[in-house]
Amino acid sequence: MRPGTASAPERAPAAPPAPAPGGRWHRLRRDRSLLLMALPAVGLLVLFVYVPLIWITVAFKDYDPYVSGLWSSPWTGLENITLLLEDSRFWDAGANTLAITFLQLVLFFPVPIALALLLNSLLSERLRGVVQSVLYLPHFFSWVLVITVFQQMLGGAGLLSQLLRARGYEGFDLMTDPGAFKFLVTAQMVWKDAGWGVIVFLAALSSVNQDLYEAAAADGAGRWRRMWHITLPALRPVIALLLVLRVGDSLTVGFEQILLQRDAVGPGASEVFDTYVWWVGLASGDYGVAAAGGLVKGLFSLVLVLLANKVAHLLGEQGVYRK
């Protein structure tokens, strides 16, 4: 498994590995300052990502931090997993998660591509720069801020309701409407991150050889045919990579974003895998079942990433890592 991000520059013949006359000891001594530099980050990662793996055992134990420690709490085998699979809320959370992922694939995914094509067709550098600055901005807002902004616009006391009431119509409250919730979440995603998504596609577009367009135009290809035969093929690897990433990440949908709105809409429409784990574990204190939920989700996610990559390879795309 070699992620593409890391492996590409290594292949560059920029600096051939220095010969190691004294073997391993010599290299260790030569590179000790480099190793020392890497140490703090590795230490933090080990502590906060690897060490917690010990607590995954909670999924197979009857663990209650107020009664007994991790080591002394009794093993219960697969009981937590059984409890988890019998919990209808877990399956509802799964259905909600997949529904939101699907909506995002259909309604979110194409937006950055369309915006990038639009921006790319602008001739004025200045105008393009201004629009880009505006588009990227919401990506840097916190989810708390984004949701309060939506609440002020579309909520019961929001601007739209206020304007409607002033003209004698009924107001509405989208923020507490379970039926609209999944679309609302997707709209928030689009508002916050669709603009930022443009940056990758713009980079891909700027690397297209302009002579191709000229040659195609000379051969009589119109605007749309040029887009279909030159622009879109140029974007294909990026689209494939992002699709693979999104599909591999299907089971994760905006944890913070949804948790912030869980109270307003109720868990029926808003519970997803991650909020379920939070609710069962941290809010209700059933650590065993919650850890089991996290473990099951984590394993399925891993399988999905590997599968999505496999499909990408079969289709001749690069995917996240190379074979």
Binding site: A15, L35, M37, V49, Y50, L53, V58, S142, Q162, G281
Partner: protein
């Protein structure tokens, strides 16, 4: 005249006109042709142009409009808010009453200071550790860099999950400590990879010759690599800083003591939950300042640092981000 010349000169070299600097008096066939448009490209239809402009305008309005309303309402006095029936779209008066009230000590002032300090300390820590690690792993053929890289990369595919992480963080005694907002999320492997890719593509010849001249790795990093990597360092710092500034979840699960809450938690309490946080109930109850203006002012406070820093870093996005992330 070569192809590139044709493209650059646009109008002057439109088909049918003669070469050379002295344009003939022939009437231009396309009167309002944009000189930046490549010759081979058709002129857009007015309808298409109009639709394009409308879309761009709509997109920008959808992003900036709500922010405008929030800012204007936070600056409005009681009368304006009552007359508007709530949120204010067209400013009538400008008063900083709400801000004065919020920043004259008390809950919001403290939360803002907590947020600022966590962001500052966290960003410095994250950047130091990430830059060191990225450079430490950037030299081809160095000892054990592949296994260490592997340790980093695996975390991008699998994590222990919320419950084990929570049990660890509380287990090592970070409950109710400000460090609970910093340490668990101090490292982003993605950011390290972007930095590393940038370092590797930055002047390898220069670095090699410095090594041959006997410069140590620390010296190379400080004197050669970092000055050449200002763009990517600015961008990654912004990413880390925004992460810390936006944080509320770690504060919610690890900080029981509401006095230690960052600004985002106050904002959540006040606007999303519509409850007055501890210490603010009095101010709102006495109605010195309209509650709506106070809510909007807290939103603006959460927005301001981002809007201040953003323009300085924004110009580096493409260079800083893409050299690292997309090349792979």
């Amino acid at each position: 005249m070569s192809v590139t010349d044709l493209r650059r000169t646009g109008k002057a070299a439109a088909p049918g006109t003669a070469d050379g600097p002295g344009l003939p008096a022939a009437p231009p066939r396309q009167p309002r042709r944009n000189p930046g448009r490549p010759v081979w490209e058709e002129d857009p239809s007015p309808v298409g142009q109009g639709l394009k402009g409308l879309t761009l305008l709509g997109v920008c309005l959808a992003i900036l409009g709500p922010l405008w309303v929030v800012i204007v309402t936070s600056l409005s006095d009681r009368r304006t808010i009552t007359e508007a029936g709530g949120l204010v779209v067209i400013p009538r008066t400008v008063t900083f009453q709400a801000y004065e009230e919020l920043l004259s000590g008390g809950t919001v002032t403290r939360a803002a200071i907590v947020s600022l300090l966590v962001t500052l300390v966290g960003t410095v820590l994250s950047m130091t550790v990430s830059v060191l690690c990225a450079y430490g792993l950037s030299r081809p053929g160095s000892f054990a860099h592949r296994p260490i890289l592997m340790v980093l990369l695996i975390t991008m595919f699998f994590s222990a999950g919320l419950i084990p992480t929570y049990l660890l963080v509380t287990g090592i005694g970070l409950q109710d400590s400000y460090w609970a907002m910093i340490l668990p999320s101090a490292i982003s492997v993605f950011n390290i990879l972007v930095l590393r890719a940038f370092f590797m593509s930055t002047a390898p010849e220069l670095i090699d010759s410095a090594r041959i001249d006997g410069a140590g790795e620390w010296r190379i990093l400080l004197r050669i690599v970092m000055p050449l990597s200002k763009a990517v360092i600015a961008v990654i710092s912004l990413f880390y800083a925004v992460g810390y500034w936006s944080q509320w979840f770690n504060a919610m699960i690890y900080l029981n003591d509401a006095e230690k809450w960052p600004l985002q938690m106050i904002l959540r309490q006040l606007v999303i939950k519509q409850q007055a946080p501890q210490g603010m109930s009095q101010m709102i109850a006495t109605q010195q300042v309209p509650g709506l203006a106070v809510q909007m002012a807290v939103m603006v406070l959460a927005l301001i640092p981002v809007v201040i820093v953003y323009p300085f870093v924004q110009k580096h996005f493409t260079k800083g981000m893409l050299t690292g992330a997309i090349k792979g």
